[in-house]
Subunit: 684 residues, 2 copies
Amino acid sequence: TKIQKQTQKGWTKVSCPCCVSDRVDPLVLVRLGQKVRPETKRWIIKLIGSPQKDGGAALLAHPGEDASGDIIVVSAPRCTLLRATEELGLCKTYSSGEMEAFSYDDKDNFKDSEFVTLAERQYIVKYELEGVRAQKDLRVPGLSDDYTLQHRDNIWQKLRAAGVIVDMFPLHNQDQLKDLSEAWYCGNQLAQPLDSVNSYFGSSIGFYFSFLDFYTWSLLPPAVLGLAIAYFSVSFWSHMSMSIDQDASGSAVGGHMIQAVFSMFWSTVFMELWKRRSSSLSYRWGNLRLAERFAEPRPGFYGNLGVNPVTGRVEPLFPEWKRELRMALVSVPVVGLFLGLVVLGMLVFYWGEAQVQQLHQHWDSFHTQVLLYAPSVLHIIYTNILATVYKNVAQALTEYENHREESSFQNHVTAKVLVFTFFNYFAVLFHIAFYKQDVPLLRKRLASLLIITQLVNQVTEVVVPFLVDRFISASNRKENENDPEEDKYRNQSTLPAFPGLFSEYIELLVQFGYLSLFSCVYPLTAVLLLINNLTEIRSDAYKMCKLFRKPFSPPVANMGVWQVAFEVLSFVSVVSNCWLLLLSPRIQRLCTEGELNSTNILLLAVLVEHILILLKVVLAVLIPDEPDWIRKKREHMEFKSMQALRTQVTHSPESTEERLMHLNWSVRVEGGRLGLQVRVRVEG
Amino acid sequence: TKIQKQTQKGWTKVSCPCCVSDRVDPLVLVRLGQKVRPETKRWIIKLIGSPQKDGGAALLAHPGEDASGDIIVVSAPRCTLLRATEELGLCKTYSSGEMEAFSYDDKDNFKDSEFVTLAERQYIVKYELEGVRAQKDLRVPGLSDDYTLQHRDNIWQKLRAAGVIVDMFPLHNQDQLKDLSEAWYCGNQLAQPLDSVNSYFGSSIGFYFSFLDFYTWSLLPPAVLGLAIAYFSVSFWSHMSMSIDQDASGSAVGGHMIQAVFSMFWSTVFMELWKRRSSSLSYRWGNLRLAERFAEPRPGFYGNLGVNPVTGRVEPLFPEWKRELRMALVSVPVVGLFLGLVVLGMLVFYWGEAQVQQLHQHWDSFHTQVLLYAPSVLHIIYTNILATVYKNVAQALTEYENHREESSFQNHVTAKVLVFTFFNYFAVLFHIAFYKQDVPLLRKRLASLLIITQLVNQVTEVVVPFLVDRFISASNRKENENDPEEDKYRNQSTLPAFPGLFSEYIELLVQFGYLSLFSCVYPLTAVLLLINNLTEIRSDAYKMCKLFRKPFSPPVANMGVWQVAFEVLSFVSVVSNCWLLLLSPRIQRLCTEGELNSTNILLLAVLVEHILILLKVVLAVLIPDEPDWIRKKREHMEFKSMQALRTQVTHSPESTEERLMHLNWSVRVEGGRLGLQVRVRVEG
């Protein structure tokens, strides 16, 4: 197509012969600062182009329209892609039809060479660019001397810091995008094209949509149950016409219990089944044996140089205990402090409301009328400020903890923010449920929360996008006449950056919380959530494809910390449900009427709770986390690598070592007898 | 020494030249049935001696004094040992000083060839003998035709069934034994020679003694605390002289709480630290990467022949789901039934006691006097019968579950018996604590139980052994004049077989139970246990060395199911402790005097319990299960095997294959570029 033709000329030369191909498709766009000198741009392009042994990124660079323009288009030659695929530990389909950890030396035995997905290719480009380190002290042409690079400095970071590189994002592939969007949200098909989502957007996003899908479908049973209960409670009411309140309580109890116990087991089974699905997905997507901890540490990672005992490479090292110490003595207290602030805010809010009420009762005037809203408004403002501050604090804290792997860094950030946000959402509900012990209020609150979130979601995720799209697509159309590619790229760079999956996940988590923690007081929860998620899937898909830049997404093997969060929640749900059952109006009435001794009731509840938790644990242990066939495949891989290790003579005498230096690592780890034979060849 | 000289002649020939050595030390004794024909014995010896490719065991056999004698002494040539060492996945010290999974091809790079410990060698002999399968249908000379072997029959099992082989046990090595016992229990040293215990008796026994050691030392803190509390409560009492009962309650509370909370955290920290110790032991003993699941299935394992998807070997296969089904539908219900019977027995016992009491009160006579003891006597008999029946049932059930690995078989048997025994021990205490809610009675019961177990242990484990030893050692002395080796062996075979570690472990578990579950009602528990264990270590060691035959012990990586049992217990302890605190006299009095609302107290207790459990979980998660340096070593191994796998071309074109045949496998596993170079060399 036109894209290729245009971009053919002007690309830097590939270093190795095997990578020469007639088409180079642009993968990543790098935007430079406005007043970056041409020589600097040339230098960067050269850096990107030159092979890794010369300290380059071994990628392909294109200066865009003219040498002075502020963009660089980056692509990757085949060899670099394959080597990185091996380094990241991705699995690919072997000639035998199984997934095998990809090996560069063995590349011909893997099915078709185009298997590196777009998302992976773009991530690899990012990985290579951010991995480039200065091999000696050098100064960047066209930059002032205070930006000279020391040995082993991370060049990309320095350039960002110097404002030379202002932006970097992967480019959409319009053809693939079109196909994807048609298969995803245009039609009214039920199933999502998860595999192509994974290959286009990457596994982290693939996992999110798979989970959303799985979660939505597993909402069916509770939804049906909820409907049934709601129906019966209503009919029950119509028969013996009491006052609504009494009825609500009277009938609710039956439903209550069923709902509570059901939702407790449902949540466990749901999570266990998801784990199985997740592991089979990660096998299918080749992320089962990611080798992140064996790869280079993340750019931000610091420490004094040393030999990594695991890989034997020279890289910055940072002792584990130091990290743990920092977590224990810094992170934990700070997070605790913020949680405290949330509680404080809530208490002040309640206190304020009480004050205002009194005031209003004393002199009932318009002013006091207005004043009634003051506390809630202030509280909302307070909470939002707190949240934004906390986000940055969490980021800083995790930077300070200095994690080696990107994934663990992400997990720790997420975990911190997660705890806070969750607390923020649920503090009020817990306060009502456990402290005020006011079930009707809880029911009202929950219903309103659910409906509000519904509306808010629909608006923010469907209506707004639609409106935005109106005029963005318009501008797209305007541009689609054959004007240079570069403008198209510029257009993409005008789109807002993808905010990440946090907000999406937290939304699901909060939903799940409403459902598993409190649903028994409001049977229709599941139904509302089901409806919401059905639209959610589409709107999220639409957002991903149209409204944001394409995000980088690293290959991941599972949902990471989110999985844990959901599991924890499903255990907390047992406690809250038992408690709510205890508070259920009928039992309360029995107690007040003295038919039952409240202490014994309480004891019973505690007993039931313990048994249920025990059952949940047993259930969780009994349902294996991965399907049998995955286990077999994994063990097969382990067996093979064990065999490989055995049939290999690892340590070889020094002399050989030195002689073999110029042969690649895969030979160096070989040796002994073999080393000798090779030496013969090298000498002769 | 004499042993070698005598046993030199008469051994079967070694098949491979490299194994010829001037000394063969006897490892295992096989006892044949009385009326086994000489030809049968010859056939068996031939079987043991012939190499594996001819369906033999590739071991060395010695017919004992004369060909018609009823014993066969078995030893193993070096090659068989090394191959088995590799197959079992044992790690050994590499020339680099690190532990590496042993590889036969690379054997020269491992430190001294004598590293296969005695226990391992003896286990390997057992492993090889029990692994021998008939390669074609054949009939054993001197046996009736109904014992003909089908293809792939397990020969050893058949011979046992036919009564040809009545017994098989490893032989003591008197010299090593002497050194060991001197270092172990003769002197009054504190530390045990755990490494030599492991190398002489094997890792499973090594782990038991390590755990006993670790456990005993970690009893110090609670013991000190207990003493302090006891002391203060007494002094407290002497000051304000109340009636003992009131005091016990009054003062107990303070100690109570401290003790309870302390023991809860102590148990967690103890278990976590043990896990770390255990993992470093298993690294040190080379059992970190046991490859049992990749080895042949256990002899008892049945299923229809198929290709194992993991190893690609042809062997009996049995679907996982079938096993799970059998567990769920057969094992679980049966176990439940027996637990039910225990409870039933207890209830009947209480009922009976009540009846007898009444009877005695009505007509107080000598007969009724005697009758008073009837219930307890009957109950004891009942329990014992139940226990013995259950043991066999558990064995049968696990056989029926048909586990592939020996270890998982053992774990499942242990787990079943464990649950039952534990229930048996604690049902009464729990009944008193939770149902009768009678703390003083609980205290009395606990004290008496502790002291009784003390006495019973001391008697059974020190006095009896001593007496037995008196005359056994006497007979030994009588025999020690230079009469043939064979009689020495016969003497060993007269010793009782080692009953296994179950009773030892369960004793520790029950102790641990008393301590963590109920200690807060009887502060001196820890002290008593500490004293008991200090003698326990010695008496157990003595037992192992002198009073039983040397047991076979397979290499294991940890305590298996026992670890789980201890952990579970430490969680249950939270519940019981909180409950006991709730029952503590002072609080009870407060409630009765109406100073406190019992419901609120209860709520508080529940809250505290949940928080404590949460803290325990957090603690258990935070303390990593293996020390940092072990983690690094493990990851290093993983990394190396990953590398090995990558640098290996599994499917290389035939021609190359053939050309490279004469080069060793370690070249074949290399490939790609390198493969080419080597080929060039071969051609030129």
